[in-house]
């Protein structure tokens, strides 16, 4: 049996290449970490100094220094809540349809295509669409509700994909066990698969929230660029000064940053932009950590040994 002749030079070269390539890959990967740390560092370094309790709670000032971002922060959170209120049931339903009901075929393919196209749609176009259809034709005006609907369009595909993946991640055996027991499909979906899928659903949803939270282009023309004076003691959702009136206009944090960056004439405009950016990034960071924590806790809760009924 003739053995393969080992070309030692070639082997040596291969090993050197291996080392070089590894170093390169590691360097590039670390470059990403460096970019991230740089970005975070920059944003936080510039902004943290300006963040204080009063900055987070007071109203902005057009001319004078010392304005806050209270209403904007509230608007962002409330808009996020409204958006999720609309998106989650819709996205969940469509995602379940895609993963459990749709038969592979032309229609399913078409829907997937739709979801993909929608999710890579420029958000500015969605904003304009929102202006003409939601704000004008549906007569919802510049309002939280308009903004939430525009963000829904923007967020729905993501939610569908998250749901589809979460359900696809449920072991096939779980479904089979339910079927063999003679349960209806819907019962299996809601009582057996959903609990297993919930951790990844939560994680995905919270990460998606981060994106919604930072969106500006789609909101300029829908939720608007101003906030009426809010009366935080008035919780009647129909009153125009109530913070939770869904038909009032609302400038979000991201929109405000954009506005201050572009048109701000207050003497501390730069610091306000920096502070607000830092707040935005910190919120996204919190969302991330929360997603991770909740996802892990829920996963443990659902599968852990100490689970109570």
């Amino acid at each position: 049996m003739s053995t393969v002749k080992v070309n030692h030079k070639a082997r040596k070269r291969a090993k050197v290449t291996d080392k070089v390539a590894t170093v390169l890959i590691v360097t590039f990967a670390m470059a990403i970490v460096a970019i991230l740390l740089g970005l975070l560092g920059f944003i936080l370094f510039r902004g943290l100094g300006h963040i204080s309790w009063s900055f987070l709670t007071t109203v902005p000032q057009t001319m004078r220094a010392g304005g806050g971002i209270g209403p904007q922060l509230f608007n962002s959170l409330f808009l996020l809540f409204l958006t999720m209120l609309i998106t989650v049931p819709l996205g969940l339903g469509a995602g379940i349809y895609m993963s459990e009901y749709a038969k592979p075929g032309k229609l399913t393919n078409f829907i997937r295509l739709v979801v993909e196209v929608l999710s890579s749609f420029p958000s500015i176009v969605i904003g304009l669409f929102g202006l003409l259809l939601i704000v004008n034709t549906f007569n919802l005006g510049f309002s939280l509700l308009s903004g939430a609907l525009a963000l829904t369009i923007f967020n729905l595909p993501l939610m569908v994909r998250i749901t589809e993946q979460a359900f696809a991640g449920v072991p096939k055996e779980q479904k089979e066990a339910g079927l063999a027991l003679g349960l209806s499909k819907w019962k299996i979906i809601t009582s057996i698969m959903l609990p297993v899928a919930i951790p990844s659903l939560i994680t995905g949803t919270i990460l998606a929230s981060g994106r919604v939270f930072g969106e500006a282009a789609a909101l300029l023309f829908t939720a608007g660029m101003s906030t009426p004076p809010l009366d935080f003691s008035n919780w009647n959702p129909l009153s125009p000064r109530s913070p939770i009136n869904p038909l009032r206009p609302a400038e979000t944090l991201a929109v405000y940053i954009w506005k201050v960056n572009s048109e701000g004439i207050a003497p501390d405009a730069t610091q306000i932009a920096a502070g607000a950016s830092a707040v935005l990034v910190i919120m996204v960071l919190i969302f991330n950590l929360l997603a991770r924590f909740l996802g892990r806790t829920l996963y443990r809760y659902m599968t852990a040994l100490r689970r109570m009924s």
Partner: protein, 251 residues
């Protein structure tokens, strides 16, 4: 309760590929029928078709008939969900729900309308007893089913299948992932259960087939090569291929 249960000219296709070829066989009451044959010969496919679980696989198609009590189960008018309540199933890998031990068993009966807590408790206890698991878990019914060992999980799955009082139980290699002790327990369980219901079991272990079954069917390349009393098949097969397989010449 000895309603007839049989297949007639049953074929199953995956797209163009015919995995099961014109199988006609019947499953006598109060007995265990073992399906044996080399990997890929269509045992699981055949078994799954008996409670229409194969419907769930996109692209699969069935022709022929499955008769139960004079009704053709393959008819499109059959209420598969009701059907599956009558024909239970257990797989090779235990698949308990990600729920407590109690919930795993109570889930089915509750769905069928038993809301009364006491009745449920009774069903849970009797199902677990039948699956020879009661003594091991009676103090930890609220714990997650996943905290059980593999063998216990498998018996839990059998208990779960029993909780809705099926008339037929389909088992697909129920012991092949278990340790010797658990295997022994599951085999014992099968022998006991056969007095109450009909059992169809797929196994790779010839000795297991010989030990637990009354009838054996040998499948090869989607065809039913031989079917008869287990003793006859093992001692005196008519086909060379059956003998080769049983003797471990391949597979």
């Amino acid at each position: 309760m000895a309603l007839p249960f049989s297949t007639e000219d049953l074929s199953i296709y995956y797209g163009e590929y015919q995995a099961v070829k014109n199988i006609s066989m019947s499953f006598p009451a109060q007995s265990v029928t073992a399906l044996i044959g080399p990997s890929g010969c269509g045992k699981s496919t055949f078994l799954r078709s008996l409670n229409r679980m194969n419907d769930e696989i996109a692209g699969s198609r069935t022709t022929g008939h499955i008769w139960m009590d004079g009704v053709d189960l393959t008819a499109s008018s059959t209420d598969v969900i009701k059907l599956r309540q009558r024909i239970g199933m257990v797989w090779q890998r235990p698949n308990p729900f990600f729920k407590s031990i109690y919930e795993n068993i109570a889930f089915g009966p509750r769905y069928y309308g038993t809301k009364n807590r006491k009745q449920l408790d009774e069903i849970v206890e009797s199902s677990l007893r039948k699956a020879a698991l009661w003594d091991e878990v009676k103090d930890r019914l609220k714990e997650s089913a996943l905290s059980l060992s593999g063998g216990q999980q498998q018996r839990l799955c059998i208990a779960r299948a029993l909780s809705v009082t099926p008339q037929i139980l389909l088992l697909d290699e129920p012991a092949s992932a278990l340790d010797p002790v658990s295997t022994g327990k599951v085999e014992e369980l099968i022998s006991e259960l056969k007095d109450e219901l009909r059992i169809v079991i797929v196994t790779h272990n010839m000795q297991q087939a010989a030990r637990v079954s009354n009838y054996t069917a040998y499948f090869y390349l989607g065809k039913l090569m031989e079917h008869g009393e287990t003793d006859t098949i093992f001692t005196n097969p008519t086909q060379q291929s059956t003998q080769d397989y049983i003797m471990g010449r391949f597979g």
